[in-house]
């Protein structure tokens, strides 16, 4: 009897695991950040037949950066500027829309956008540009609670998709170009009460505070605007932080400026820092480290290890031990001319005279980075890490910083470099060595994330509006479709009525692709 029960329990667990793959329940598909779908109905042999099943269009001209959530036959999305919708998964028809009435004095550096919602049980969670976190009834869109996370008037906003853990909602903030002080928050899913806050810029008396000159910590930024990952066994949240403020003047904040441009490992229960790793100390190039950290369990240098991999805006690809934060690999995956290498302790050897001057200094990566907020993916089957890589230099110049709460605070700027044609690529990186295994060139630098699948495919999108599928082993292109507008979102995959679909947003449209 006991044996039977155990068998039954295992069957249930397997069924649950299998079921989890059918849906897309959190920003990256699951907590690992791998953005890998185990669905394989769409594969190398039939992907050429993929076509549009339905489209849904927003009414807003801001960039549509959403990663949809799929659960229970419904797709939950956010729309710019701070709206949410539930779509019927069979037709794309909206079941409800939530329209946020925004004040007209919100502050955002880079467009009125939102990257997605979180779902926990029957509740949808949305962060808003006026820096609130709200809870909506998943069945009706009715608002259940509305919590002010920060004061938008001082430059805070929220564009990041929340991360729902079993008993808390994790939410980051934006405002790195407004001299805010960054943080990561956890909220009670039922009431909206704040459970903990981790300041990404340490205050007086806290470790790391000494890495900021004078009062510069008060405007140190280190925003948390891309959704992180979570290891339930270690109970650690992995979350990237943004540039130090002001962006282009490193002298008024002399020191490493912790925890800007870092990966944080935080105890999910308390929000306490377990370890951190800083990619770009005293950054002067706006190289936010706001990337989805990809958690990988694999044999590494002869033993099983829990790793975390990050392809960074600064042009380097990093592999760390995610239990301890130990630095393992740091190699360029995109063109960079600011550091000769990352030393054995994980610190970059910076090339002199690469910082902004009043006249301007040309630099690779440029201000948009070797990659950006778009999601990478990792296939456990190929053992490869896929990233949308950008090659686009900019000239960085420096100006006098003047802080005025709620106004733009960057101390300089950047320009394109005449005569240099930017380009892009999808690159497959080997986390064992940091080497580039293959690359598929793109016409221009991309803003779309990638998705890998067990059908042996990598899906991505281009700035010109192509959606495409590559062979995940070789990078060979197998299918493409012109959507008509720039892809600025991350693809997902799910199963409905026994059939696999791939969906992503392009321009104002959310498009679901299927085989039949």
């Amino acid at each position: 009897m006991k044996k039977l029960l155990i068998v039954f329990a295992i069957a249930l667990a397997l069924a649950a695991a299998a079921a989890a793959q059918m849906e897309w329940v959190t920003y990256s598909g699951d907590y690992s950040g791998q953005r890998h779908s185990t669905l394989k109905q769409i594969d190398r042999t039939n992907v050429a037949k993929l076509h549009v099943k339905w489209m849904y269009q927003t009414n807003d001209l801001n960039q549509f950066e959403v990663t949809p959530i799929v659960s229970g036959g419904v797709m939950y999305i956010s729309e710019p500027p701070s709206n949410a919708a539930a779509l019927d998964l069979h037709t794309g028809r909206p079941l409800w829309l939530y329209r946020r009435a925004l004040p007209n004095d919100i502050h955002v550096c880079c467009g009125q956008v939102n990257r997605g919602v979180a779902l926990l049980g029957d509740v949808v969670y949305l962060g808003t540009l006026d820096a609130h976190l709200i809870a909506l009834d998943a069945k009706t869109g009715h608002m259940l609670w509305d919590t002010a996370v920060a004061d938008y008037k001082t430059g805070y906003s929220i564009t990041v998709a929340p991360l729902a853990l079993k008993d808390k909602i994790i939410i980051g903030m934006s405002g790195g170009e407004y001299g805010v002080r960054g943080f990561l928050d956890a909220y009670d899913p039922k009431t909206g009460a704040r459970l903990w806050r981790f300041w990404t810029v340490p205050g007086p008396g806290e470790p790391g505070h000494e890495t900021w000159a004078g009062d510069s910590w008060k405007t140190g930024s280190a925003a948390t605007w891309v959704t992180g990952s979570y290891d339930a066994n270690l109970n650690l949240i992995y979350w990237g932080t943004g540039n130090p403020g002001p962006d282009y003047d490193g002298d008024i904040r002399k020191g490493d400026d912790l925890y800007s441009d870092s990966l944080l490992a935080l105890d999910a229960s308390t929000g306490k820092l377990k370890w951190h790793y800083q990619f770009t100390p005293n950054d002067t190039h706006d190289w936010d480290s706001t990337h989805t950290p990809v958690l990988i369990d694999t044999q590494f240098r002869g033993r099983a290890r829990k790793l975390v991999a990050v392809a960074n805006r600064n042009g380097f690809f990093y592999v760390l031990d995610r239990e301890t934060g130990e630095f393992l690999i740091g190699k360029p995956f995109a063109k960079e001319i600011w550091a000769t290498e990352i030393d054995s302790h994980g610190r970059p050897i910076v090339i002199p005279n690469t910082r902004p001057t009043p006249e301007g200094v040309p630099m690779y990566p440029g201000v948009h980075g070797g990659t950006n907020y778009m999601s990478p993916s990792y296939s456990p089957e190929t053992g490869l890490f896929y990233v949308s890589a950008r090659q686009e230099p900019t000239s960085y110049y420096r100006a006098t910083p003047e802080y005025d709460a709620g106004t733009y605070y960057v101390a300089g700027g950047n320009r394109g470099i005449p005569g240099v044609e930017p380009s892009g690529a999808i690159k497959a990186l080997d986390p064992q060595s940091g080497e580039v295994r293959w690359e598929f060139p793109l016409h221009s630098p991309p803003w779309s994330g990638v998705l890998s699948t067990s059908g042996g495919l990598v899906f991505g999108g281009t700035a010109e509006g192509n959606v495409f599928a590559l062979d995940s082993a070789t990078g060979k292109p197998l299918w493409d479709f012109q959507t008509g507008a720039t892809v600025t979102s991350n693809p997902i995959s799910y199963e409905l009525d026994g059939k696999q679909y791939v969906a992503l947003a392009a321009g104002r449209a959310l498009i679901a692709f299927g085989l039949e």
Binding site: G73, V74, D88, T91, R93, W96, K139, H142, L144, D146
Partner: protein, 256 residues
């Protein structure tokens, strides 16, 4: 002479309309906001401070552009006409400010709503309540007392009986159109329509389950326009209780 008469004839209608804010109000505003701005399907305007229109310029742009995400439409008129309407709306507010508050005790009404009336089984207010009927969280802003009273006494009188388009951003009665379907395999499903196009329909049943059907695959599809699953409360509440309930509903402004 003939020339002058023509000019007068052309001017006369304009001159009449432009000088009559009251007439324009009755034509454009009163059908929803009430003959004296007391509120009906639309919010009460006979108040000194309008929450969405603290000044005349804002009120003017609300008339000109409507309020996206609400039932307030765009209303076309000349600048002069709009100024007349604004002046008239403000005069209603001044007149009303002298009057005394309405009958009914909202505290008692709240107890009736969640208790004797059982309203919360179907309606949501803030974080509480059911999903079957329209969300009432800010119904006091959207509807006037007379309309609310009518809805409680005779729910179907306020239920649309025509084919208005489903409005996705507004919790309107026609978004709660009752639909009955029989599927190809004979299963019967009843619920509220949540969306519809030429070929498909989406329904939320009373257990909050969402269905999506292709219409050509349904055996039967009935859209019960003008029908409401809500019973009349005419015989359930005493007159004073009705006052209390309406006072409570009127107090629901969505403020947290």
């Amino acid at each position: 002479m003939r020339y002058r008469a023509t000019i007068l004839a052309l001017l006369a209608p304009c001159a009449f309309a432009a000088t009559t804010g009251e007439a324009l109000f009755h034509q454009h505003c009163a059908p929803c906001h009430g003959a004296n701005g007391e509120g009906g399907r639309g919010p009460k305007l006979a108040r000194l401070k309008l929450p969405r229109a603290p000044d005349d310029a804002t009120l003017g742009s609300l008339i000109e552009q409507g309020i996206p995400g609400t039932e307030m439409p765009v209303t076309r008129m000349t600048d002069a006409e709009r100024a007349e309407v604004i002046a008239y709306v403000r005069s209603l507010g001044r007149a009303a400010s002298a009057q005394v508050a309405q009958a009914g005790d909202p505290k008692k009404g709240e107890l009736l709503f969640w208790g004797k009336g059982g309203c919360g089984q179907c309606h949501t207010v803030g974080p509480r309540g059911g999903r079957t009927g329209p969300d009432l969280t800010d119904i006091g802003v959207k509807r006037g007392p007379a309309n609310l009273r009518q809805s409680v006494l005779d729910p179907e009188a306020e239920t649309p009986d025509n084919f208005a388009q489903y409005r996705k951003v507004i919790y309107m009665p026609d978004n709660y159109l009752r639909v009955r379907v029989v599927t190809a395999d004979g299963k019967q499903i009843t619920g509220a329509r949540v969306d519809e196009d030429t070929f498909t329909i989406q329904i939320r049943d009373d257990g909050s389950h969402i269905y999506s059907f292709r219409k050509d695959q349904l055996k039967e599809l009935h859209e019960d326009w003008g029908k409401s699953p809500m019973p009349s409360f005419r015989n359930k509440f005493a007159a004073s209780e009705l006052d209390d309930l309406v006072a409570y509903l009127s107090s629901l402004t969505g403020a947290q």
